[in-house]
Symmetry: C2
Subunit: 338 residues, 2 copies
DNA sequence: GACTGGCACTCCCGGACCGGGAGTGCCAGA
DNA sequence: TCTGGCACTCCCGGTCCGGGAGTGCCAGTC
C-alpha cells in the first residue's frame, strides 16, 4: 500500500474522530496538505474501502473508518501524544496524596476518566499476585472471629468465621501466631498448600478450630478469585455521539458486572505494557463498537490492570498516552509503599 | 376535597405510572369503576388541575400528576403493597449469605436495584455512629505503619502512617496495646477527646511516635466524615421512559459524587423510618424529576441509610415496600453480627 | 500511467404540509 | 349534580419535496 493512501486513511481517522461525521474526499484534500485533488483522493478511498479499512454509511456519504482501519492507524500511524508537563505534574500530585490503597485506586480511576473523557476501570491488585503481609484475628463473640488479611500490595480483605467451639483470648493469640508464622511473606499463590497443613500444626485442643479457620482462609484466598474493580466516568458515555442511546443500556449493565469488566481488562496473565482492543477484538457483542485501552501496573511486576473504555472513534494518541502515564505513576506509588 | 376527586387523582397516578402516558377522562371513567361519566371526570380534573395536583402537557392532551399530586398520593392514597412471600424469602436468603460487611452492602444495593428496577444507593454504616472494636498496627517498614480500625458495625478502615522515628517490634506492640486500651468499645464520636490525650500516656521515648499516630487516628476519625456509599442499577436509568436522554447526564454525574448522594440519602441526623422525597423536595436542580425513597437501617439504632432513586413517575407502593423490607432485613443481619 | 476537472447520479436531511385521533371545555338538558 | 353532545385545539405520523454533500466514472492533460 501506497504512502499516500496511508495518509488518506490517517486524515479520515483524525477528521472523523474530531467531527464525528463521515469525511468526504474534498475535505481530505483541502484540510490535509496532500497536494492532490479530491478526485485522486476518491480513487484512494475506493481502494481503502475495497481493502476494508473504511466504509460508507450509505451511498453518497463520506467515509468512516472500520475497526480494521483503526487498527492500522494505531499500529502504524498513531504517534503518541504525550501529556503536557502541567498535566503530568497534576497527575503526580493528585496520586501522591493518596492515603491508602483504596484511595489510590479511587483517585486513579477518577483521574483516568477525567483525562480521557471516557469510562475508566481499575482492577485492585490481584490477590494471586500478592503476598501475605499480616493476618489479624479479632474475636467478635466467643464463637465468632473476624479474619483480616493484609497483603504486600496494601489490599485488606476481611471475613467472618464461625468457630466450632468457644475460644479464649489465649486461643486466639495462639491461632494468630500460628497463621502468621506460616503465611507471612508467602505469595498467596502458595497459600492453599500451606493452609492445608495448618490444622496439623496447632495444639490438639485447637485442631477443630484451626481447621475451621483454615477452611475460611482457603475460601478467602481461592474462592475469592473474583477480582475487585473500580469504575468511574460513566457519565462520559452520554457525551454527544459517544454511544447512541440504543446501545447505552448494555454498556451500563456490563459496567456493573465484574466478570465482564475483567474480561475487558484482559486476562490477568497478559504482561503486555499496553493493549488496545478495538471493536470485535473484545469478543463481546455489546462492545462491538467499543475500544478498550489497558495497561498493567504494579511495583516491579504486574499486579493488576487499568484501562479506559470508549467508542471506537476515540482519540487514540491522547488516550494511549494518558493510560500509559497513569499506569506508570501508580506503579511508582505502589513501589514506594512496598 | 371530595372523595371522588381523590379517586380520580389515584386513577391518574396509577394509570400514568403504568403506561407513562397522559391519561384522559374517558380512560379514567372506563377503567376505574367510578360510576360516573367522562364529562364528570373532566370537571373533577379541572378542579384538580386548578388545585395544582395534575397538569396538562399541552391543551388537548390527557393529564399527568404534578409533584404535589404524587405527594398527596403517597401521603393519603398509597396503600403499601407488601412483598410476596417468595420475594421475602429470596431477600432473606440472599442477604444472609453475605460473608462480611462489604458483601452485605454490595448485596443490599444490588437487591434493591433489582427489586425496584431503579438506581439503588446504600451508605456504609456511618463512622460517627459506630464504636471501635479493635485497632491493629502493622509495620510496613521501620518508619511506616498501617493502622487498621475495625468498628462494631463491621467497617474496616485502613490508613498509612509515617513515623518520626524507627520503631521496634516491641514499640509497635506497646502502641497497639495503648490505643486499644484507650479506644476499644468507645463510640467514635468520643474518640477525638480520647485521642488527644493519647500521647501523654505513652512511655516518654514513644511520645513523638504516639502523637504522630494520634494525629492520623484523628484524621481517620474526624476528617473522614466523607461517608462511603455503594451504587447499583445505573442501567435502570435507561429503561424506556425513565429519563429522557437529555437529563441522563447530570444524574450519572451525580451518582459518582458522594456529596450529592449523601444529600439525597438525607441528613444523617434523620431517624425517620422511611422518607419519600419527590421532585423539588430534593432541593437539587438535577433531581427535579426524581423521587428518592430512603430508609434508615442499623442494629437497634440507625447507623446508615439506604434508598432508591427513580423518576417521579415510579411505582410508589412497590418501591416503598421494597426499601422498607430490605432495610429491615439488613438491620437484622447487622444485629446478628454485633 | 497517474492525476484532474467535469458531470450525472444517489441518497440523506430538514422543512412544509396535512389528515386523523385523542382529549378538552362548555353548554344545554335531564 | 350529572350527562351527552359538539366545536375546538393540538400532537403525531406520514408524505412530499428541494437542497446539498458526496460519489463514480470518463475523457482529457501532463
Amino acid at each position: 500500500m501506497d504512502d499516500r493512501k496511508l495518509e488518506v486513511l490517517r486524515a479520515i481517522v483524525e477528521d472523523y474522530v474530531a467531527t464525528q461525521e463521515p469525511v468526504g474526499s474534498k475535505a481530505v484534500s483541502q484540510r490535509h496538505a496532500l497536494g492532490v485533488s479530491a478526485a485522486t483522493v476518491r480513487n484512494d478511498m475506493a481502494y481503502l474501502e475495497e481493502a476494508g479499512y473504511i466504509q460508507q454509511p450509505h451511498t453518497s456519504a463520506g467515509r468512516i473508518p472500520t475497526a480494521k482501519g483503526y487498527r492500522l492507524f494505531v499500529d502504524r500511524l498513531g504517534k503518541i501524544k504525550p501529556l503536557s508537563a502541567a498535566e503530568r505534574r497534576a497527575v503526580h500530585r493528585f496520586l501522591s496524596e493518596a492515603i491508602d490503597l483504596d484511595d489510590v485506586v479511587t483517585r486513579t480511576v477518577r483521574l483516568l476518566a477525567q483525562l480521557t473523557h471516557q469510562v475508566a476501570v481499575v482492577q485492585y491488585p490481584s490477590l494471586n499476585r500478592s503476598s501475605v503481609r499480616h493476618l489479624e484475628l479479632v474475636s467478635l463473640t466467643p464463637t465468632r472471629l473476624m479474619v483480616v488479611m493484609i497483603t504486600d500490595t496494601g489490599r485488606v480483605e476481611q471475613r467472618y468465621v464461625e468457630m466450632p467451639a468457644e475460644l479464649s483470648e489465649d486461643d486466639v493469640l495462639e491461632l494468630r501466631r500460628l497463621v502468621n508464622e506460616q503465611l507471612q511473606g508467602k505469595p498467596l499463590a502458595d497459600a492453599p498448600r500451606i493452609i492445608a497443613d495448618l490444622a496439623g500444626l496447632a495444639r490438639p485442643e485447637l485442631h477443630a478450630t484451626a481447621s475451621a479457620l483454615a477452611r475460611v482462609l482457603l475460601e478467602t484466598v481461592v474462592a475469592r478469585t473474583e477480582e475487585r474493580v473500580a469504575v468511574a466516568g460513566a457519565a462520559n458515555l452520554t457525551r454527544p455521539g459517544n454511544f447512541f442511546a440504543g446501545s447505552l443500556r448494555p454498556i451500563l449493565e456490563a459496567l456493573e458486572e465484574e466478570v465482564v469488566l475483567m474480561q475487558l481488562l484482559g486476562r490477568a496473565d497478559s504482561n503486555a505494557l499496553l493493549t488496545v482492543r478495538i471493536g470485535d477484538e473484545n469478543n463481546l457483542d455489546d462492545f462491538r463498537e467499543t475500544t478498550v485501552v489497558t495497561a498493567g501496573y504494579g511495583p516491579g511486576s504486574v499486579v493488576g490492570h487499568m484501562g479506559v473504555l470508549g467508542p471506537t472513534r476515540m482519540d487514540y494518541p491522547g488516550t494511549i498516552a494518558a493510560v500509559r502515564a497513569v499506569a506508570r505513576y501508580v506503579s511508582e506509588i505502589l513501589e514506594q509503599n512496598r
